[in-house]
Amino acid sequence: MRFRHDVAVPSPTSFVEESGDHRLFIAAALLEEGRIAHVHRKLYLPTYGLFDERRFFAAGDLLRAVPSRLGVGVGLAVCEDFWHLDVPQILALDGAQILVNVSSSPGRDLAATNEVGLGTATSWRNLMRTYAQLTTSFVIFCNRVGVDESISFWGGSEVIAPSGEAVFSAPFFEEGLFTADISLADVRRERIGLPLLRDERPELHVRELARIVAERAGLASDSTADDLAEAGLDVAPGDPIENPIGFRAGPR
């Protein structure tokens, strides 16, 4: 999807940003009325499988929902940020009613057994519906289209309502400028009828996460760890399960 600078509606766009101290961030900006309303720097940089982002980029440290011209808060995220549960949850708790994920998802796991014939798409579609339901927010997934070397980006952008139902689904692999009408009254209806967000326990998170962080750092004893686990590790070392292809099994 492309966004114009001269339109009045808030438009997210993504780019590489070099900071004053020369770190390179993968960033998304919310543009409103010709100005940059907010810049989100990608928090989670996938460096596994076919991804290599941490090698080249710095990870952002801030996560903020920001007010928008629409009269509701908007939460911006980039791709892998939405493979971490805390991101949509924190954005919703911080006031976002619309969560926007700008994504370059490489299509893979072609299969006939999936609903849509593409494992990646099935996974993303499940995630977006789940986040919309659990945060009772609109989720907008804006995914790249096109081919770059071996990789095909599959499109399939979506708008999911707070109920978890898709309001709009763009076709796979097709570039386009799509519009979808949404009613923000759906957020109110959903949040009053299903007050999940009201009942969230952020103070519980803070307390338990503070405990886990201290235990991982070896600064507190871990009452739930295995007996033989080292400080900072929850689990005692186990036997190796399997040798990779070409490696011989060693003496156990």
Binding site: A112, T130, F173, I245, G246
Partner: protein, 310 residues
């Protein structure tokens, strides 16, 4: 909600935590298709067509060259290229050796006729026989490898005369077990089918309308009369494809695939084939000496400003 991670992990009901002991293999009219390998061919065709166009665009080429053997892999590639950019931008090169099967030749000609693409026959017998004239005892391995590399040389020559990129025709099965000639049949500018197992190539062939005779016949490198892949490797493609899928793509252990019903000796043999052919799937390493070294820490996408020819 069980949304599986896409990267190399389980998706779909076939790959739930405990894989079924006997996976149903559906036998279509033309070939045996292991159920877990079935793909959505319309999505595959769409991705591959855009891949082919993208590769040509970034290199600044408009045309392609495909070595057409009469077998299913090169036929599928020719059909995919024709679908992506039009048959008029494809040159099919038939490169028989004097002992090549006449059926291979006629099947290749059928593909050319069906697609309506340009074609050329380059007989490699003289080149190959001249080289081995003083070496009559050369093994069939050496002769086969040499033929594959002569065909590569012909294709890269035609790449210049036809102004087209050489499209690869190696499939994932033969690549994983190393059943290829390095710098021979595996040499190409790009490969649209290198991530498809033989069974999936057959599924694609049926969807693309490749002639049935090509889909039905036993796959063969046709390097000597009567040669077939399955006799040479002593395993059937559906079985090998399934084993590779579970071992490589789905990361199942030896014990796990044995529990699924694969013979342990077969699993261990295929494991050795995979490990011992690793060198064929990677670009040759360069000794690191300078500050920036290609493939080590000089890393650029092939598609970059200036990458297109002309």
């Amino acid at each position: 909600m069980t949304a599986p991670r896409p990267a190399g992990n389980a998706t779909g009901p076939m790959t739930a935590s405990a894989p079924p002991r006997d996976v149903d293999a559906s036998v279509t009219a033309l070939f045996e298709m292991p159920a877990e390998l079935a793909i959505d061919t319309s999505i595959a065709r769409r991705v591959i067509a855009e891949f082919i166009r993208g590769q040509l665009r970034q290199a600044g080429f408009k045309k392609t060259v495909v070595g057409l053997s009469g077998g299913i892999d090169s036929a599928v590639v020719a059909y995919l290229v024709a679908e992506a950019i039009g048959a008029e931008r494809l040159l099919a090169v038939l490169m028989p050796y004097r002992t090549s099967s006449p059926a291979s030749r006629s099947d290749a000609e059928t593909v050319v006729a069906r697609l309506g693409c340009a074609s050329e026959v380059v007989d490699i017998s003289l080149m190959v026989d001249a080289f081995f004239a003083n070496d009559p005892d050369a093994s069939s391995l050496r002769r086969g490898n040499f033929m594959a590399r002569q065909r590569m040389a012909v294709l890269y020559d035609r790449s210049v005369t036809w102004s087209g990129l050489v499209v690869g025709t190696s499939n994932k099965t033969e690549s994983l077990i190393g059943y290829t000639t390095l710098f021979g049949d595996s040499a190409c500018a790009f490969n649209p089918i290198g991530d498809l197992y033989k069974s999936q190539i057959r599924q694609m062939a049926e969807a693309l309308g490749v002639p049935e005779a090509i889909i039905r016949k036993a796959p063969s490198a046709d390097l000597w009369p009567g040669q077939t892949d399955e006799a040479e490797a002593d395993i059937s493609y559906p079985l090998l494809d399934r084993l590779l899928f579970w071992r490589v793509d789905k990361r199942r252990s030896v014990d796990e695939v044995v529990a699924m019903g694969f013979e342990r000796t077969l699993v261990e043999r295929v494991d050795r084939m995979i490990a011992s052919s690793e060198f064929k799937r990677q670009v040759p390493p360069i000794a690191k000496l300078g500050p920036r070294t290609a493939g080590v820490d000089y890393l650029y996408p092939r598609r970059r400003p200036g990458s297109a020819r002309g």
